[in-house]
């Protein structure tokens, strides 16, 4: 048996050091935050938590409240759809120079702009937009549009760069102007990909629009924030259920659509 055994693997010093460093980082984190996980499970805090959870039930399904929730859910959908639509338009406009169609300088400038738009999270944009446009769903729409146009602009630009240029070049060679060559030579090739990206972002934005309201940007999130601030727990519970339902519906329908199209 002995001679069949593979040689003993070499002792990996770097791996051991990395593991040690990770352990130190984790323990250090708990220590730094002075978290006592055990403290959560004492009788007093468990009773406190049970009381807190209990205050959410029974959920408020009264007619007036559910009507408001429908309104909030529709508002959330409208925010996400409009935000994505605006982002598709702006992203496309920015993707054209970012894919190098207007020279090197324009390319790096628009790339920088896209990176900036993308690196600011939606919620930060929302706080800024609440200042710029006032409380309400319009601020949420703008916030989603700003962040998403950064994301989509970059994806669109990459798609445009990777498209074969033969068709557009043939059109241009036979005398078509640049716009025509783009619309009839390049766009038909990339359109399915652009559409797929946009729908995917829309799906993510529905989820995001549901929580943007925490900073006052409309939709279900704003309802949840209000009810929690007024200690109306049963009402808050219904809003959370509505959020779960919305996300489940979006997940389910997108999985179904994907299967249908694949």
């Amino acid at each position: 048996m002995k001679q069949n055994m593979p040689p003993r693997p070499r002792y990996c010093l770097t791996c051991a050091a990395t593991l040690c460093a990770l352990m130190v980082a984790v323990i250090g984190s708990f220590w730094y935050l002075s978290l006592e996980v055990g403290g959560l499970f004492t009788a007093a805090s468990l009773r406190h938590i049970a009381q807190f959870v209990g205050s959410f039930f029974p959920a408020d399904f009264s007619h007036a409240h559910t009507a408001k929730i429908w309104q909030g859910a529709l508002e959330t959908l409208a925010i996400s759809a409009l935000g994505t639509l605006l982002a598709v338009i702006v992203g496309m406009l920015l993707a054209l120079p970012a894919s190098g169609r207007a020279g090197r300088i324009a390319k790096s400038l628009t790339r920088f702009l896209l990176n900036f738009l993308r690196s600011v999270p939606e919620l930060v944009w929302a706080t800024l937009m609440v200042l710029a446009a006032g409380l309400g769903p319009f601020a949420g729409t703008l916030a989603l549009a700003l962040h998403t146009s950064g994301v989509l602009g970059r994806l669109f630009a990459e798609t445009l760069e990777n498209t074969p240029t033969a068709a557009a070049a043939a059109l241009a060679d036979s005398g078509a102007v640049a716009t025509t060559a783009f619309f009839y030579g390049t766009l038909p090739q990339v359109l399915p990909q652009l559409l797929a990206y946009s729908l995917y972002r829309w799906e993510m934005n529905i989820r995001m629009a549901a929580v943007l309201g925490f900073v006052g940007a409309g939709g279900l999130g704003q309802m949840l924030y209000f009810s929690l601030s007024l200690f109306q727990m049963p009402q808050a519970c219904t809003v959370i259920l509505a959020m779960l339902f919305l996300v489940a519906v979006v997940d389910g329908s997108s999985a179904w659509l994907r299967k249908l199209l694949a």
Partner: protein, 277 residues
């Protein structure tokens, strides 16, 4: 070429009806979203924004504030790390329950002749729990937990742990199923225990992917813990929310620079960790 232009666009009808449909959907949406670009140029809003933007420069680099930022940054990183660690404590066992690849019944009977069994029920229960855990976004948990546990990082850590354990568990289970099943099967068939089969049969093949996904999630957790600060869960986000509320632009810019540096740092660390495995 064709001497006559065709009498009309053959795709006219679908195009026209699509346009009409799009407008019919768009109009109520614009109303619902209170779409009103004029609000951007409203005199009052413009004044607030102009004042706010004017305070952006110069960024606030006073030592006191930098000290605050350093503490908040460490806190954010610690929230992300502790949250992921807790999430793994919950997610790994759930993934092992939910995955099909360590099932003993799969070797007893081949898949097509199997009937519904208790182990299937347990597996589906595990999947259900994972779905519930990741169903509510971490920021909603943070908002709730801040009310239950008070302002501060504890709410952020727990919120991350709840949502991310669901995500980690689901993806771990999928990765375990996507790996090469033959070594595990061979071990299970020759009578080894499940944990040994996991450690010697399955893990060597998928460890790289597991690490890389965990590191990616940590990166997301850093971002998420900044965001969660906006509802009072500690760290850099809470500081930013305060500065924004007081319309102190200089502080906002400094925090923003820190934020960008931190995201870049997290990118770098995850790049190094992924290269090591």
């Amino acid at each position: 070429m064709n001497p006559r232009t065709p009498p009309r666009d053959p795709a006219l009808l679908p195009r026209l009806s699509l346009t009409v449909l799009a407008l019919a959907v768009l109009w109520p949406m614009l109303l619902l979203a209170e779409f009103n670009p004029a609000a951007l140029f409203d005199a009052k809003n413009l004044k607030v924004m102009r004042h706010f933007l004017a305070t952006f420069l110069p960024p606030d680099f006073s030592p006191d504030f930098l000290q605050l930022i350093a503490t908040a940054t460490l806190e954010t990183l610690a929230i992300a790390t502790a949250g992921i660690a807790l999430a793994m404590c919950l997610g790994v066992p759930l993934a092992l329950i939910a995955t099909r690849s360590l099932s003993l019944s799969q070797i007893a009977m081949r898949a097509d002749s199997r009937r519904w069994q208790g182990s299937d029920a347990l597996r589906w229960a595990g999947r259900g729990v994972l779905m519930l855990l990741r169903g509510i976004p971490e920021i909603v948990w943070a908002l709730l937990l801040v009310r239950a546990l008070g302002l501060g990082p504890a709410a952020g850590v727990l919120a991350l742990a709840i949502t991310y354990s669901g995500m980690l568990g689901k993806v771990y289970a999928e990765i375990l199923e996507s790996g090469d099943a033959r070594p595990t099967l061979a071990l299970l068939e020759s009578g080894s225990g499940r944990l040994a089969a996991l450690g010697y049969g399955l893990l060597p093949g998928v460890l790289r992917e597991l690490t890389s996904y965990t590191v990616y999630r940590w990166e997301c957790a850093v971002r998420a813990s900044i965001i969660m600060g906006f509802v009072g869960a500690g760290g850099l986000g809470q500081l930013m929310e305060l500065s924004m509320r007081m319309l102190n632009g200089g502080e906002v810019v400094t925090i923003f620079i820190t934020f960008l540096l931190m995201v870049m740092l997290a990118d770098g660390i995850s790049h190094v960790l992924r290269k090591m495995t």
